[in-house]
Symmetry: C2
Subunit: 337 residues, 2 copies
Amino acid sequence: MPKIAVDCMGGDYAPEEIVKGCILAYKELGLSTYLVGDRKAIEIILRKEGVKESEALTIVHAEEKVEMHEPPSVVLKKKNSSLYVAGMLVREGEADGLVSAGNTGAVLAVGKFVVGTAEEVERPTIGVPLPNPKGKTVLLDVGANVDCKPRHLLQFAIIGHTYVEEILSIKNPRVGILSIGEEEGKGNELVKETYPLLKMSKLNFLGNAEGRDIYAGTFDVIVCDGFVGNVVLKASESLGLAVIQMIKEEVQKSLLARLGALLMLPALNNFKKKADFAEYGGIPLLGAKKPVIITHGRANAKAIKNAIRVANEFLTHRFNEKLRENLIKLAPEGVKI
Amino acid sequence: MPKIAVDCMGGDYAPEEIVKGCILAYKELGLSTYLVGDRKAIEIILRKEGVKESEALTIVHAEEKVEMHEPPSVVLKKKNSSLYVAGMLVREGEADGLVSAGNTGAVLAVGKFVVGTAEEVERPTIGVPLPNPKGKTVLLDVGANVDCKPRHLLQFAIIGHTYVEEILSIKNPRVGILSIGEEEGKGNELVKETYPLLKMSKLNFLGNAEGRDIYAGTFDVIVCDGFVGNVVLKASESLGLAVIQMIKEEVQKSLLARLGALLMLPALNNFKKKADFAEYGGIPLLGAKKPVIITHGRANAKAIKNAIRVANEFLTHRFNEKLRENLIKLAPEGVKI
């Protein structure tokens, strides 16, 4: 029975919502967790929820916690933090995966350097499933790897393929490389050098994806370097917030529009649910030795439950084994990556 | 009295809406244009609108037109196309600026190679004013220059500064460089090398801008290479379309929500107006010898009128003179760019 280490002190609603998420994961899905953090604080929440510490919900005390703006260099020295302790539980084989709503850079650092990188992988990568009217498109890398070489993008493509096929259950995913212009030969130097590698691979490679493909449902996996991916991801979040604020301001000006907004609320909430990645269980650090799931800082109990579920899916679907196979099977003939 | 050459055959609603746009520019703003394209087609529209050809609305016949997907290499050989002929009118000093709703790559190529680059500029750049709740942020470059050197980004910053100050009337604009992470030293190689140049410049440089700053109103000018800028721009458009479609699908499911949407319509249209860049006159190719304005392919008469207005503003505000001064005045001490 796998057991996931959950950083109970990371995130805007920690520890309350995090601990509740662990309880939900156990009650609804029968999943076991280590609750890592301040023992007293966690005990109070467990008691309030009428739950006893057990084999399925085991507290592991950690003195400190990682703050929202601490850089990775500090995080990796703060060995008594709940995040670091959770990472060590995984590293030492006590726990089988890590979930944290703490600051992304910190979780990434602990994922890479404490949990560690899967043997066959050169660089772990963060993949985000972005919503579109037809389903989801996984964009990777979105910030773990700033400057990349062509072979890294090729690895990301195979990692993304494996994630989409094994975890999102889309067979033979359509893979593209983010570029400007559709035709082969369009793009920057990195794209031009990576294109032939992807073309020679055994992936279902459809060629260049443009910015407009990201939310159009025309690809299942789109690879890019972490600089471009991060900018696109954050610009998208920012555009969403700006649009909501600008519409709100217009709606405020008219009574009828305010009434209209009220009537539309349930539909808007349904949309929000589809669009919100907290709903489907956080962002995985792909290519780590064991599943590492980074959830949004605003993660509530449900998001944490989903993240624990996804971490378990990585294990039950034997993600890392499949990835190892795919890195050999799908690579271009004669290219060792 | 300046006179703008308008490519009447480019765009989804050409020639009808384009010719009407020229008529509007004359009737409402007193601005003169060359109407470049199929003489007969243009005459029919003028007649329908009850307008006579004149010194202010002068037809220049062109046999051919550029198709939506013709690559720049083809466009630059199609010398009888309305776009090319319009470009030549500017090059030869007959006309004082160019407006086209034709395919962006084609207009860009004609702008760069037929109209030509301003002497002091190394690479013309496309800047897009993107909406945010507080105003607009100009992102550049968004596709004219794929791989860039630090000195190019420095030029783009000064070009963007000049555009925002002279045309958008924002004094001492806040300038940033698109990166991941806020602190100096964060970003890819290009950003790290450009940062010190911007810091030493006389620009009001605030440091790194993140993706989330693009739509937040925290900067007036954000520079990036044309690969990143184009991807962000197209991803934003695509996200907008996806959100609208996903909300529509949810709204369709409920009668009340449909009623709500109806009541909200005027507010949504006001928002759309603020967000739609067609409303404020197209995208300039900055650093060309004369104003070149690229409008959206879906440009209607009003958008064309606005583009003609903006082309004239570049002239009345003596944009290129100011730019030449700024390239000297704002450059870092001792750095010739």
